[in-house]
């Protein structure tokens, strides 16, 4: 008994030790909070709530939109951004025929080896090739972009919170910083080679506005290529590149859940029946 008592005595002392140590920090923190002014973050905007064909449990790809988005990527973004996890063959999933994919790939130049000399060279792409990177390496990428490396876009919409909305909002969100913002946060003024964008967490990024004027891309389906339209289309396309299996995933989910619901109802009924034998009668 005395031994157990001492276990509890030790515990109480240890417990009080932790408590004093952590509350000491609390007091120091409270004192600092009272005497120092909090630094405060620059305020940035949360992405706009846009609506997408692939939203919700029944979402589907809008293949025409994905094809428009591919065109925006192809003609604008691919100058700076790679798409390294996407192969040309994958484009068949967004509605292109095998022949079209072959032609599309052949029009791209990918790194290769000269079959005669073994030297590094280039060759026309094959459907099995992946989208080539615009820069030979990160040093070249940084040198061409004011020291910022344009990130690979394959997974971009999964790599940011609310990614599809974020990418679309970012692309159409470039604007001059407001006077009030600069007054309150002088540090928010864009430095040389940086551009103000309220959706980017520190408000200034090294990407010049890539989409600036209506008609910058000519859509094959006749849709008017406004900045908003192009931003949304490329964001939708990048949602597909980030998760080509998104729609299949949701479509597989329904039969699984319906089956489980059925099985669970049966399990409930058999449980009720089995237990009725020993449940007290009311």
């Amino acid at each position: 008994m005395t031994k157990l008592l001492s276990v509890r005595l030790v515990a109480i002392l240890v417990g009080l030790g932790f408590t004093v140590a952590v509350l000491w920090g609390f007091l120091v923190g409270a004192y600092n909070a009272a005497t120092e002014e909090a630094a405060g973050h620059v305020p940035y905007e949360h992405p706009k709530e846009l609506s997408w064909s692939f939203d919700g449990p029944f979402g589907k790809w809008d293949k025409a939109q994905l094809q428009r988005g591919l065109k925006v990527y192809d003609e604008v973004c691919s100058a700076c951004h790679s798409l390294k996890f996407v192969a040309f063959r994958d484009l068949e999933q967004i509605g292109y025929s095998e022949a079209m994919v072959k032609a599309y790939a052949a029009a791209k130049t990918v790194p290769g080896i000269d079959p005669n000399t073994g030297e590094a060279s280039t060759r026309p792409g094959l459907p099995t090739d992946y989208f080539p990177s615009p820069y030979p390496n990160n040093v070249a990428a940084a040198a061409a972009n004011n020291n910022a490396i344009p990130p690979d876009l394959s997974l971009m919409t999964k790599a940011r919170g609310d990614g599809t909305n974020y990418v679309a909002s970012l692309l159409m969100g470039y604007q001059e910083p407001s006077a009030e913002l600069l007054e309150e946060h002088p540090e928010a003024a864009p430095g040389p080679g940086l551009y103000h964008n309220p959706y980017f967490p520190n408000l200034n990024l090294a990407m010049a506005p890539p989409l600036t004027s209506t008609g910058q891309v000519t859509y094959d389906d006749g849709t008017e290529a406004t900045v908003e339209q192009m931003s949304k289309d490329v964001a939708a396309f990048l949602t597909w590149t980030a998760e080509p299996t998104l729609v299949k995933r949701k479509q597989t989910g329904w039969p699984v859940l319906i089956f489980l619901l059925f099985a669970t109802v049966l399990a409930y009924m058999s449980k009720k029946q089995i237990w009725s034998a020993v449940k007290p009668k009311k």
């Binding site: 157990l4 276990v7 509890r8 515990a11 109480i12 240890v14 417990g15 009080l16 932790f18 408590t19 004093v20 140590a21 952590v22 509350l23 000491w24 920090g25 609390f26 120091v28 923190g29 409270a30 909070a33 909090a38 449990p57 996890f85 994958d90 990130p151 394959s154 997974l155 999964k158 790599a159 940011r160 919170g161 990614g163 967490p201 980030a242 998760e243 080509p244 299996t245 995933r249 949701k250 597989t252 989910g253 699984v256 859940l257 489980l260 619901l261 099985a263 669970t264 399990a267 409930y268 058999s270 449980k271 089995i274 237990w275 020993v278 007290p280």
Partner: protein, 431 residues
């Protein structure tokens, strides 16, 4: 080992007779989860989570073994092979989402299982060993989950590994050599990734082994129950099969519905977007946070902000974080109330619902939040309460509290009366 009224296994046909004399596996199953195992008749749905934990352990092992067939533990290609699984492997995306969300569900059910143990003080005699093995399982689960999260080699994988192994660097003198030894280098790289993969593959099987001991230990006294009154007679129990197989089957259905709703419709909701960015030792994420199931303990780690005499703040945080779990080992000897169930302990119940649970919620929120005010100060108050609750309040209330009257037996609790009631014998002390 079991109650005297337990049904006896009788092999019925030639095959089971043959087996019973040579390798009595059917007998083992019959006595473990069959009609030969009498279980209290009044278990609530809180007693479903042990079986669910076992189920999710199997899910993790099955999906994990499949993932390992396609994954390569090399810092150059780990991120790309993970994407290969997501894009090119048939049903690879399903295996990966099932594994990632399976880890979360494993922790959800184990947290509810531990919560049950704490409220009903299932850790008390004669079930101390079940509880101690449970804490061992929990520690192994944390190690396994931590190392698994490193494998896709995203930004949070890398920086999480760096921060957590960096904790060992806080140990005086030997800390840094230990950190280098753990990582096989000065920062997480190939050496670390390979050993983490090796251990991540191994540990679930170690967990499975400890689970067998856990259940073996459970079958000695049998399950406790919501009244905390021990089984007294046959009318207090029902055979595990079909009663609890049916109830566990229904519970499993509900768990699977929730689990697959997450897997198919919100597979990334519990993950961090930064882990879809490939690891980059040169770019530190704005906020390094572990997976959600570590948040309460991460909050305790970061709550210690000032040096305590000669102990640096960081070391203090590391000690406190480990202590916050290790102290569970001592619970059976800290809480000496003879009554198990929180339903009959008025004082304990108040501290549990209005102290421990709010403190855990605050710690959870603060652990996932950036290390700034008001989160730091909130986590400091909650951390103080956490240690006070287990190490000071529990030992003290167990001697000052006056428990409410207990039912004479489980039968009485269920049926309102028990034919065998003997007047004046209506308590059922745990010790």
């Amino acid at each position: 080992m079991s109650f005297p009224w337990a049904r006896q296994y009788e092999p019925k046909n030639g095959l089971t007779k043959f087996l019973d004399e040579r390798l009595p596996l059917p007998r083992l199953v019959y006595n473990a989860v069959g009609a030969g195992y009498p279980v209290p008749r009044n278990l609530s749905y809180f007693w479903n989570f042990g079986v669910l934990a076992g189920f999710f352990l199997v899910v993790q092992i099955v999906t994990g073994v499949v993932l390992a067939m396609h994954y390569a533990a090399n810092a150059q290609v780990a991120f790309a092979t993970t994407e290969h699984i997501m894009r090119d492997v048939n049903w690879g995306w399903l295996m990966r989402y099932a594994h990632a969300n399976g880890a979360s569900f494993f922790f959800i059910v184990v947290y509810l299982h531990i919560f049950r143990g704490l409220f009903y003080s299932s850790y008390k005699a004669p079930r101390e060993m079940i509880w101690l093995l449970g804490v061992v399982i929990f520690l192994l689960m944390m190690a396994t989950a931590f190392m698994g999260y490193v494998l896709p080699w995203g930004q949070m994988s890398f920086w999480g590994a760096k921060v957590i192994t960096g904790l060992f660097g806080a140990i005086p003198l030997v800390g840094e050599p230990i950190q280098v030894w753990l990582l096989g280098g000065f920062a997480p790289d190939n050496a670390a990734l390979n050993r983490f993969f090796s251990l991540h593959f191994l540990l679930p099987f170690v967990i499975a082994g400890v689970v067998i001991l856990h259940i073996w230990a459970l079958h000695i006294p049998g399950s406790s129950n919501p009244t905390g009154v021990e089984v007294k007679s046959e009318s207090d129990t029902v055979p595990f099969h079909p009663y609890y197989t049916a109830k566990d089957g229904f519970g499993l259905g509900i768990a699977l519905l929730l689990y697959f709703a997450m897997v198919f419709f919100l597979p990334n909701a519990l993950g961090h977007p930064d882990n879809y960015i490939e690891a980059n030792p040169l770019s530190t994420p704005a906020h390094i946070v572990p997976e959600w199931y570590f948040w309460p303990f991460y909050a305790i780690l970061r709550a210690f902000t000032v040096d305590f005499f000669f102990v640096p703040a960081k070391l203090m945080g590391v000690i406190a974080m480990f202590a916050s779990i290790l102290l569970w080992f001592f619970l059976p000897w800290l809480d000496k109330s003879p009554v198990r169930s929180g339903h009959y302990r008025p004082l304990f119940r108040k501290f549990f619902w209005f102290g421990l649970i709010p403190a855990m919620i605050v710690l959870f929120i603060c652990g996932g939040a950036p290390a700034e005010e008001p989160y730091v100060m909130l986590s400091q108050i909650a951390t103080a309460y956490y240690f006070l609750h287990f190490l000071v309040i529990l030992p003290i209330i167990s001697s000052v509290e006056k428990p409410e009257p207990l039912p004479y037996s489980i039968t009485e609790a269920v049926l309102g009366s028990d034919k065998k009631v003997v007047k004046g014998e209506n308590t059922s002390p745990a010790v």
